[in-house]
Symmetry: C2
Subunit: 362 residues, 2 copies
C-alpha cells in the first residue's frame, strides 16, 4: 500500500493506493467526524461494492442513495436526489458523504457535500481508473449544464481518497482505456519520463497487469497532487491539467453527455491539441505522431465525430471556463512533457486543425 498527501494546509488529505483497501475500515473511519454517513453510488457499482463499504462503516448511522449510471445523469435534477435523501434522513451539518463510483459519482457527491447546509465533509472511493488517477483528487466538483460541461460546481476538497485497485477488475475495457487517456495526459504536460514509460508499458496497462496499473495510478496521483497543492483554485498551472479538455468538452456536449466517455473525448482532444501544437512548430511532427500512436495503442479514439462541424466546435469551445475576456485559451504542447496555456495561438492554424479533423472524420 502507498500513501500520498495532497498538501493544502488545513485542508490537506491523504490518498491511499493499494489492493484490497475496501477491507481496511481504519483508513476511512479516522476521517468521519460524527455519526451520520451517506454513501452515494450508482446502479452499476452499488451491487458490486456497496455491501463491503457498509461493512467498513458498521456502527455509524449509515444510509445510501443509488443514482443511475452515466454522464447524462450528472445534472441538477439528479443532484437533488442526494439532497432528498439527506433531508429525509435528517442528516445534519456534521455528516459525511462517501462517493463510491467513477468520476460522475465523485463530482456530484462532492458538489452535494459542498452545498448541503453550505458545506459538509466527504470522502472519495473511486472505482474507475479515470476517477482514481484524476477526478477524485483535487476538489473539483460539479454537474453539467445542457450548454456546457462542469459549468455548475464548487472547489471542495475531500477528507481522504481511498483507491482500491482491485475495483479495476470489474471495469470494462472501454472504461479502462478512458482512464488511460488521463494517465497519458500527465506524461504529456509535465512528466517526460512517465510518457516514455507509458510507451514501453502500454500493453501491460491494457492487459491489466496489476503492478503496471499500480505504478501508473501512483505516478498520476503524485503529478495531480503536486499541481493541486501549487494551485488549488486554478489561477495558474492547474489549467494545464485541461490538456485536450476544451476540444473534449465540446465533443461531450455536442454528442449528448454519456455518448462519448469523458476519457475518450479527452483522448481525441489531446490528439487535436498535439496537431495544433505541431502546426505552430512548437511540437515536432514526429512527437505529435508518437502521441497519436500511444492513444491508439491504448484503444482510444483520436478523431471527433463526423457530425461535428468547425462552427459547432468553435461555438461550444467559446463557453470554456478558461475563456478570458472573450479570448479562448487553449492548453498546447511545447514538447512531450511541457505544456502551456495560451490565447496566442494562430486562429488560422486552429481553423486548419478543425478542418483537418473534420475531413478525417468524414
Amino acid at each position: 500500500m502507498k500513501a500520498l498527501q495532497v498538501e493544502l494546509g488545513e485542508r490537506s488529505y491523504p490518498i491511499h493506493i493499494g489492493s484490497g483497501l475496501l477491507d481496511k475500515p481504519e483508513l476511512i473511519r479516522n476521517h468521519i467526524a460524527a455519526s451520520q454517513v451517506m454513501v452515494v453510488s450508482n446502479e452499476t457499482i452499488a451491487p458490486l461494492y456497496l455491501d463491503r463499504v457498509c461493512d467498513m462503516l458498521s456502527g455509524y448511522e449509515q444510509h445510501s442513495v443509488i443514482l443511475p449510471d452515466g454522464e447524462q445523469y450528472k445534472n441538477l435534477d439528479v443532484l437533488n436526489r442526494i439532497f432528498d435523501a439527506l433531508l429525509e434522513k435528517r442528516f445534519n451539518r456534521q455528516c459525511t458523504l462517501i462517493a463510491l463510483g467513477g468520476g460522475v459519482i465523485g463530482d456530484m457527491t462532492g458538489f452535494a457535500a459542498a452545498s448541503y447546509q453550505r458545506g459538509v465533509s466527504f470522502i472519495q472511493l473511486p472505482t474507475t481508473l479515470l476517477a482514481q488517477v484524476d477526478s477524485s483528487v483535487g476538489g473539483k466538483t460539479g454537474v453539467n449544464h445542457r450548454l456546457g460541461k462542469n459549468m455548475i460546481g464548487a472547489f471542495h476538497q475531500p477528507r481522504c481518497v481511498l483507491i482500491d485497485t482491485e475495483t479495476l477488475n470489474t471495469l470494462d475495457d472501454r472504461q479502462l482505456a478512458a482512464g488511460i487517456a488521463e494517465v497519458i495526459k500527465y506524461g504529456l504536460i509535465r512528466d517526460t519520463g512517465f510518457f516514455n514509460w507509458l510507451e514501453e508499458n502500454i500493453d501491460r496497462l491494457t492487459g491489466r497487469d496489476p503492478e503496471a496499473l499500480g505504478h501508473a495510478i501512483e505516478r498520476s496521483c503524485i503529478n495531480k497532487a503536486e499541481v493541486v497543492a501549487a494551485d488549488e483554485l486554478e489561477s495558474g498551472q492547474r489549467a494545464l491539467l485541461n490538456l485536450g479538455h476544451t476540444f473534449g468538452h465540446a465533443i461531450e456536449t455536442a454528442t449528448g453527455y454519456g455518448t462519448w466517455l469523458h476519457g475518450e473525448a479527452v483522448s481525441t482532444g489531446m490528439a487535436m491539441a498535439a496537431d495544433l501544437s505541431a502546426r505552430h512548430g512548437w511540437l515536432s511532427g514526429e512527437d505529435a505522431l508518437r502521441i497519436r500512436r500511444l492513444l491508439v495503442r491504448a484503444g482510444l479514439p483520436v478523431t471527433p465525430p463526423e457530425s461535428m462541424s468547425k462552427t459547432e466546435f468553435m461555438d461550444l469551445m467559446a463557453v470554456d471556463k478558461k475563456v478570458l475576456d472573450r479570448k479562448l485559451r487553449l492548453v498546447l504542447l511545447k514538447s512531450i512533457g511541457e505544456a502551456l496555456v495560451t490565447a496566442d495561438f494562430r486562429p488560422d492554424l486552429l481553423n486548419e486543425t478543425l478542418e483537418h479533423y473534420h475531413q478525417k472524420a468524414s
Copy 2:
C-alpha cells in the same frame, strides 16, 4: 452617505448606505473586474429600478435575467434559469453578477455566483428592508428544498453591498414590517441600547421616517458586520443571528414558502423563543412581554398558524442546520441584549411553549 466595512481579510468589502445611491455608479464600477455583467432581479423590482441600474453599468456588456417574485421560487429549478442566461450569453469566469431585489434574489444570485464555473464575483443591491439589514451582508447564499429552508447553498461573500434607502419608498407595509423583525433581532441578541431606541422609535420606522430608517439600517449593518467578521462560517457566535429562525423556518416550510414572509415567521419565532426563555427563568416575564409588544407595534404576527401541531413543529425543527449529533439547539435569550445557542433547554418547557402557542392560535 455612510460607509461600513465587513472585515474579512482578502474578502473584505464595503457596505454603502444612503439615499439615491443607485445614481452613483462609481460605487459599484470599482468592484467589477471585467466586461461582462448580469443583473438578476424579479418581476416586481425590475420595472422599478432595472433601467437605473443599467444606466450605472453603461459601457459593460450587460444582460439581465428576471425571475418570478416570491420565496416559493427560491429553488434549484429557478436557480437554473440564471445559469441558462449566463451560458446563453457565454459569460466567463471573470463576469460579475448583480443582485437587484430582496432576500430571495440576493440569496439565489449569490449561490449562482458561488457555483457558476465554480465561483464568480457578485454585488448586492438590496431593495427591501430585510435584505438591507440582514441577508445582503455576510455571504450566506442558497436555495430552499421542499424539506427545509436554505438547505442548499454556499458561503460566498459579495464584493460590495450598495443600500439605496430610497428603494424602501416602493416597499409595501407588510414587507417593511418583515424587515423590522430582523432589525429588532439585533437589539435582542447583542444591542440593548438599540432595543431601547427601537421601543421609542418604532412608530417612526413604521411611518417611514427616512432618518429613523437610515439609523436602523446602519445600526443593523454594524451589528451584522461585526458578527460576520468574527465568525464568517458560523462555527460560533454567528448562530445567534438565528434567533427566532428555527421556529420561523418550520413555519415557512409548513405553510409553503411564500405564504408567510420570512420576517413574519422570524417575528413569531422570536416571540416563541422569548416565551421559552422566560419559562426557563432566563428572561423576565416582563421582558418577554416587552418583546412581544414591540413586535406587535411593528405590525408583525406573534402567533404561529393554527394548522401547525406540536408534532409538526418538532419534525420540521429536527432538520435545522444548528442540530448537532441529533440534538436540537436553539437560540434563546438571557436578557434583552444577550442571547445564547444551547441544546440544554428543558424539553418539557419547549413542549409547554409549543402547547401554549398552539392553543393561542386555535
